[in-house]
Symmetry: D2
Subunit: 394 residues, 4 copies
Amino acid sequence: MTHSRPGHQFLHSPGPTHVPLAVMQAMANQPMDLADPRLNGIIDRVEAGLKRLLNTESANIFLYAANGHGAWEAVISNLIAPGQTVLVPGTGHFSESWAVQTEAMGGHVIRTPWVEGLSIDVAAVERVLREDTEHKIVAVFAVHTDTASSISSDLLALRAVLDAVKHPALFVVDVVASLGASRFSMHEVGANVVLGASQKGLMCPPGLGFAAADARAMAVCEANPTPRFYWDWRLRVSEFSYRKFCGTPPQTLLMGLDAALELIFHEGVDQVLARHQLIKRMVHAAVACWSQGGALHFLASDPASRSASVTAVAVGPGANPEALRTLARERFDVALAGGLGQLAGRVFRIGHMGDINAPMILGCLGGVEAALRVQRVPIGSGALEAAVACLVAG
Amino acid sequence: MTHSRPGHQFLHSPGPTHVPLAVMQAMANQPMDLADPRLNGIIDRVEAGLKRLLNTESANIFLYAANGHGAWEAVISNLIAPGQTVLVPGTGHFSESWAVQTEAMGGHVIRTPWVEGLSIDVAAVERVLREDTEHKIVAVFAVHTDTASSISSDLLALRAVLDAVKHPALFVVDVVASLGASRFSMHEVGANVVLGASQKGLMCPPGLGFAAADARAMAVCEANPTPRFYWDWRLRVSEFSYRKFCGTPPQTLLMGLDAALELIFHEGVDQVLARHQLIKRMVHAAVACWSQGGALHFLASDPASRSASVTAVAVGPGANPEALRTLARERFDVALAGGLGQLAGRVFRIGHMGDINAPMILGCLGGVEAALRVQRVPIGSGALEAAVACLVAG
Amino acid sequence: MTHSRPGHQFLHSPGPTHVPLAVMQAMANQPMDLADPRLNGIIDRVEAGLKRLLNTESANIFLYAANGHGAWEAVISNLIAPGQTVLVPGTGHFSESWAVQTEAMGGHVIRTPWVEGLSIDVAAVERVLREDTEHKIVAVFAVHTDTASSISSDLLALRAVLDAVKHPALFVVDVVASLGASRFSMHEVGANVVLGASQKGLMCPPGLGFAAADARAMAVCEANPTPRFYWDWRLRVSEFSYRKFCGTPPQTLLMGLDAALELIFHEGVDQVLARHQLIKRMVHAAVACWSQGGALHFLASDPASRSASVTAVAVGPGANPEALRTLARERFDVALAGGLGQLAGRVFRIGHMGDINAPMILGCLGGVEAALRVQRVPIGSGALEAAVACLVAG
Amino acid sequence: MTHSRPGHQFLHSPGPTHVPLAVMQAMANQPMDLADPRLNGIIDRVEAGLKRLLNTESANIFLYAANGHGAWEAVISNLIAPGQTVLVPGTGHFSESWAVQTEAMGGHVIRTPWVEGLSIDVAAVERVLREDTEHKIVAVFAVHTDTASSISSDLLALRAVLDAVKHPALFVVDVVASLGASRFSMHEVGANVVLGASQKGLMCPPGLGFAAADARAMAVCEANPTPRFYWDWRLRVSEFSYRKFCGTPPQTLLMGLDAALELIFHEGVDQVLARHQLIKRMVHAAVACWSQGGALHFLASDPASRSASVTAVAVGPGANPEALRTLARERFDVALAGGLGQLAGRVFRIGHMGDINAPMILGCLGGVEAALRVQRVPIGSGALEAAVACLVAG
């Protein structure tokens, strides 16, 4: 047993998230020999399900035994030749991490600045693209929801800018923290490549990453001389699972994702997103109440940019978010996330995506409130009742 | 899948209760052939664990594939010959059910009346015993915690009465709804027989009942001519599991109970009981707040009699507890219990025993509050914050 | 972990049997509150599935948290008033056990003798019935397949005798060891009551027994004054699960049986029976080869009486079947059964029913052969190849 | 359900292999937030366990959400700068695949030829090394057990050659198919880097790869300018799990590997290896018998080179191994592997490593024999009895 404490442990990290029983049980099936047609059936369903969820008919799906950083490496190595330029609009810790990884892989990165609390500066992106009259920028790498800042950016606005400027850069979108929680359509935003991972809105354990690439992206990949093999989309376009996965497929996680996608479509994508909106409103209502004590506030200043997946709460100098997390987890059975990068020690984050319902978030918020009160952080009252009121309003 | 709704389903019936993963996983082991020494190991550990939990060194443990009513039938058929008299002190629906079952088995039952909201009338018990100068009463059947009324009675007071009157009746205690939640010691209360079941404080699925019988009870059993076989303790005193269980043992549930007892002793019995007290205080704080709206009140009028396992909330004429339950379960993922017998349609009950922790009960209470508000039941405010305050106070 | 040995443990006891993953996973669902309509759905499906499998349209199904002996007790207490007479045709240890239990419950039992190696002596049954001109015999209790002798009797022949003699006794059939393995139709054999249990051909853990009773049996039950409550069919005829089960239903085992019945109907009852016939032929081929060594032989002398569920192998004076079992289990990971009653120390038994396929029985037979060779029991050669030949022949 | 067929499915692919219940259950634990100290505990135990199993005290362990090809990519990108030279001794399909991948990553590869049926040509390796007087060869990439040919090579002989020639090349060993089945000691063979994967002798699902690198290898890595990030050991040397895994760790598979290593050490490494030797002898005895029919033979001509993990059986022109596999899987519930690369259509392979015991391999061999007989492949008789004889001999 990894947890010896009694009762359900409330996992409110913004990834990994709570894994539903149906997914756990799918993963408890024994593996199969690689020629078993049932394995191909699973892979086919996962690919078709991801395409349906991403709203793309024609993109190629590439699945990796990897986390989100592995999916980044796949995208970088397939699309960016050493020395080529990428524009990374600032969204917080994750846009910066992606930029750093791109540089490590030999790319040249132009960043637009991230102002704490704000989403992508679309005007800055437009300026950079307009200045790039030689079209040196081969791709824009945009993080839809930055897990660290809990801010979602407006992908349609970015698309509009690319169109307005008539810039041919590939539009590459990271939906790791948004897929399954926020509305996303590869078709609508005109993304050429989308990448994600299993352990957030997809309700699976970590260990599976994916990329979806359209024809333009495939052409760029074909022409890209970067040495690569494991990640190489050219080799992975195949009917044979052993080539699709460059070796043995991660069957167990695929069985899990197959079941998770079935859960999503069984509930209905619209219902899943509406559920996330309701849960988000409950969290926001509670944080707004707490904020009235003067010691906490939403990191995301614009309510419209607050993500459906996670909420970062900035704390004042007196509070200690890492001690809060330990208290919440070890005494109140609620696991939260902390601040990353420049936000370390200054925020705590409440994950609220995936396999979640109303009493789960109420239990989480109650545990957070208890921890805040034990820490004597001044908070406003009525937070839980405000969350219940959102629930009652529906 | 039996549940298609997303997220953890909050089970707050007062039996069955939430089954911990360790118990579920123990039950996922394959059965064994009946001569496998590992099976005897499991049975030995379960018997020793129950004796430790009941605080008895010498009692015989009899385990049945049965629910609590089966355990009653075992006790009745082993102890009571047709026509013999039993005193059943009134505790609510369950004392009455036990009395009815005893009568159906041929016993003669004397009842002390149950006054709604009150625990066992110890003075009435004393009167009955004093009047029984011929010692026709062969046993007193006392329910420790009546699951329907959510009231616990004072077993030591009953013991004191038996001693004061010097009545030789067997003292038989039903701990189905209290064991693992409230302090109980077979030794301290001088019980001759104790019976229980798996699906409440013992955190297992329903299907396993047990009785513990001391030497006096065994002697009564030996002398009892009632025709019986499956339940018969005389046949079940054996080293062979096949005889202990009058046939094939319910191995899976035994594996589960073995794991559940290990969890209890790993946490520590005192810690388990203290956790139940904390959770109880949280529930009581919330119900007290709600009550200020004038439409609800504790069924148990004496706070000292309110059980650590379950809380029955009486509702006024305007409210519909069965509709409340449906709403809470189907819209808010919180399963409650309703009223039984004379309480049907007049109470709802919140189970809070077994594998439970703070955010679980907060989620439950939040779901109940939401359902009450949707039903427009007038309730006082601040219930959830009051529960959190108990948690913070520790 | 109950088993620390590596690899799949081959369980070839004739109950409990190997539990399929789908059943294990169904049982890993959390319990439900007793008013949850999903619980009624499970119970309805289980009742309908048992009726379909038993081939009865009108019988009432009564499910018990109990083993097969509990189902016997239910049948005895509902049908037989103290002093009434029952005819129990001899089939081996289980007919005798049933007779003993009936006597303990106050019944008067007439037995036809069991000749070791033979099935029910139909002529003897006919004689007893013909002699009973006053129709004192209220019921015939027939074991379809005696697990201890591994012999199945001809129920249609018994039916024919009852009809020929025009005896009004209830025909009560124990299908504990045959249901799901051998063809059985309540309608065809004109059984008034059928009883069974979960842990054999039904592929569930032990702990669930059932009885099916037709209108004549229900009328007998109604008129029967025997004191009873837990087992009482009169009380259990109800729409409410709490009354159907005389208290809390054993939800987990019901979920398991629901899944098991779905597996049976998904495979197809005819296919399930054909699979058992194939496996039986494989076992018989191996035992026939071993027998040529002179030290072993089929306990059942008539090949037609050898059951589809289990095969009892009689051993000569030199062999020690209990040591063989220990050797097979602890060294070769194959669990067998031994001899019961008068057969103790003289037979070992190979269970081959339920969730079983060809390589499972080959692994079992290989382990048995290894254990026999280690014990230096003289056996003929070619057993495993003979089993494979049956498999190839299909 | 992925498998609708009744009974245990016998998985005898040489990876993935049967996953024990303890591993499955460990993986059924919910994930944790990334700061939960329990996660670090799991990672620490896995690293320590792998070091113990590999017999190295000082090597760094790097764990990847990846399959074996991912582990190859990690090793190549960390050790080999573009244009540098690697010697890959021929062992079959997997040495060739590794060579191709190294070339795709920019390396220059010298191969020693693989002669079908033989292990590494140590004399050829020595010649190449002696000729490399300028020490252009920076590493020797040796596959311990080639899963495709089922041949193990003599690593100590390779070590002796490196020492004799005094060549400074790094000695990099792939133990994907041997670890947990064959004796291996990083210390004894003087390997600088070892790589493996989860889904073979380590009894876990596929999806987890690892590399162990000693100080010399770390120094080469430090100096290697190859652009890389996800695989980069320099970044992964950290106390923080998020850096160790370049993002979210694959918690579920780590929980599984933790449990699997515990199983190995609980059984004892020597016992695990002895068990594999016994199972191997059983397989060899059966294949030797079958071979007498003239249509089959061991691919590995030297008995000493036949691996403890898998046995490749070469079939004559008349036989169709792919049809055999389908027959074995779909009719007899035994899953085998086929031929890869130049062996496609000419061999079938029996995996016999990991969580395996005697009746499992007997069931497998019985299923294979049945399939061969259905295919009318001429085979010698007595195969299963010969396997049992090995078992009896112990």
